[in-house]
């Protein structure tokens, strides 16, 4: 009886499962049809490093209550307008919906004379997303970092100028932050930002005494514009000898964890001592075995002569 019950239950369960399974394509298909194509939102972040290398981070995603990144989407970037002649580069977005486009060298020449320019990002339509276009306007600025020592105080000073203007025109009221460049990022000298004055100047004391530099104490210090919406991310750096001199000469040591050619001397002596003693004895024995053979041969000869 019990057996029957369970068998019945099993049958009903599998029946329900089968029906549900069959319904899946309909449900899925229906929802597929009903969804409208999403329109991607494109955002553009501009980077200028020492007026020497330029790159742009684009990111793509859509908003549906929450923000969802779109991966594997080809984003094209143009200067000022979406036109073949103004093409700057393209990128396939990563799982975070982001991609970096390093701008070609010609870009430097193109923007040198402009006081403002637009960066335009564009994606084509596909099965899930509509075509989209996004743009951002950059006020073209440039930084001039100077380092100086007043009495014993180390100072980093930066001037911010407008670009593309006929006369030198400083920008007032830009928030600047100061940093030391390190391998993994920019170490901020302070949490606060400093606003440029009417001469476009901002200044901060370099108060760190023990930031490791190289063997000469060289480190890169610099300033960046924190007001990225208007000007983009502009960095400028200078080499100073304000760091602590550090000598990172790696010396390979003899140790138990070292490579085969760095065996500790005591171990070599010990091992060789044992190996030579033991194998010396073994070789002696083997020689004795050979002597047995030779003595036998002599004896056979002697017997033959008798």
């Amino acid at each position: 009886m019990n057996f029957n019950n369970t068998a019945q239950n099993k049958f009903i369960k599998s029946l329900i499962a089968a029906i549900l399974f069959l319904l899946i394509p309909f449900v899925y298909g229906y929802s597929q049809d009903s969804t409208e194509k999403k329109k991607p939102l494109l955002s553009i972040t501009y980077y200028n490093v020492n007026s020497d290398s330029f790159f742009v981070k684009v990111s793509s995603g859509y908003k549906d209550e929450k923000f969802f990144p779109i991966e594997y989407q080809n984003v094209k970037l143009y200067l000022n307008e979406a036109d073949k002649n103004n093409f700057l580069g393209d990128v396939m977005t990563d799982p975070k919906g982001e991609g970096i486009i390093h701008l070609p060298q010609k870009f430097k020449g193109m923007i040198d004379s402009l006081s403002t320019f637009d960066l335009v990002a564009e994606t084509d339509a596909d099965v899930k997303y509509k075509a989209a276009i996004g743009s951002t306007t950059i006020e073209n600025a440039f930084l001039d970092v100077q380092i100086r020592i007043v009495d014993t105080t180390k100072m980093i000073r930066v001037y911010v100028y407008k670009k593309g203007a006929k006369v030198k025109s400083p920008i007032k009221g830009v928030e600047m932050s100061f940093f030391v460049k390190r391998m993994v990022g920019l170490f901020p000298l302070s949490d606060k930002t400093i606003s440029t004055d009417s001469a476009g100047m901002a200044e901060m004391e370099y108060a760190i005494t023990d930031m490791p530099g190289d063997s000469l104490g060289a480190i890169l210090v610099g300033a960046k514009i924190a007001d990225a919406d208007t000007y983009g991310n502009i960095f400028s750096m200078k080499e100073t000898f304000w760091g602590a001199k550090t000598f990172n000469n790696y010396e390979s040591v003899r140790a138990l964890w070292a490579p085969a050619d760095r065996v500790p001397v005591w171990l070599i002596v010990l091992a060789l001592g044992i190996i030579i003693t033991v194998w010396g004895t073994i070789l002696f024995i083997i020689y004795q075995v050979y002597r047995i053979f030779r003595l036998g041969q002599q004896e056979i000869k002697r017997e033959a002569n008798l």
Binding site: W279, I292, L295, I300
Partner: protein, 456 residues
Amino acid sequence: MKNETTAVDSVLMNKYEAMHDELLRPIQKTGLAGKIWIGFLFCVFFAGVFAFYTQETKSKYETISLNNYTMWGIYISNFVFFVALSLVGALMSAVLKLTNFEWYRPLSRIAEVIAVAAIMFAGVGIIVAMGHPERLYFLLTHGRLQSPIIWDIVVIITYFVATSLFLFIPLIPGISQLSNHLKDKPKWQMWMYKKLSLSWRGTPEQWKIVKRCITILAILIIPLGISIHTVTAWLFASTLRAEWNSTNFGAYFIAGAFLLGVAAVIVGTFFFRKYYRFEKYLTDSYFDKMGKMLVFLSGVYFYFNINEYLVPAFKMDSMHSQYLLDEFTGKDAILFWLVFLFGIFVPAILPLFKSMLKPWPLTVIAILVVIAAWFKRYIIVIPGLSHPYLPIQNVPHSWTHYVPSLIECMVVAGIFAAALLFITLFSKFFPIISVWEVAEGDGVSLEKINLLSKKA
């Protein structure tokens, strides 16, 4: 007076002549049981070879059941078992010889051949455990002197050479006898005897050399045997894992190996005695002596076990407690206590009764000891690995425990079969008892011994 000694001598001589003839019997002829046994061993061996081939050609993910936590399985524990077994050569021939226990004489060759077979297949046992066996030669070309594995390889090779010499040199006089006495044997076999006998004529200088070599080797083999197993113990003790992190490990392994060795010789002696009908030479008294030795060595092993388990158990620090409790009362407890029972208590207590010192009961005890010794190595190697310092989490269920796969078991069985095959075939080509050593022990002069081999 002079006549009397000649009379005693001639009685002895008759005895050795008879013994000598009887020893040739298993070499001269192999019975049906012997053929079946050899055939069976070949089958198991080839099954092992096939299993190893399968393991190497198919994905190890499917053929062996190791994982990132239990990365060493029965290949390694079996390797340790074989290394332990090989120590018997050092114990039975060298230690007993140097300490003037004369009764070692008829047993020494059985012990030596077991030792050579064990050390040979211990080496094979470690190759099958490697991820890339074809890179074995890297040990020579890129070897790091700092690694205990290199020490182990060096000691294994050295011990193998030394034990082989220790087996071979006392055999030289015997081989020359074989080439004079065997009949109807294939040409190659006779040729082999001729070559191996090294033109042995039994001259006084030759005898002198043989005896000196045996003494030197007997002395050399003791430290070698101790090092081989100590270094094998260091493969474990040199890691930071709690269950192996013990200064007691080398001595503990050696004590276990001596016990296993005596048990193995008891088993070997029993079967050679029974199937080659050597009751006259391998008498009950040898079992009596070996039984007493078993008691003594069980006691020693018990002592080291107490050190190994009781001391950390007394402290119960959190590094040790997780695996100790599992072994004492947890999931490994049944195996742990069975191994204790059959591996230590049974051989320590039962042979105290006189009736247990007879060949049959003692052999049963010895077989139990051998089996327990195999599982003892399993317990040392494996359960500890599933108790790492950082907890095992978010892994497939099979990663939390280890049960050897069929392929692994077949390979291990194949290695066992190969070792037994080596021992069996050896006894089919060479006398398993060294006649001249036994005769010498009875005080027969070398000239008389020489006569034995010359008589056609």
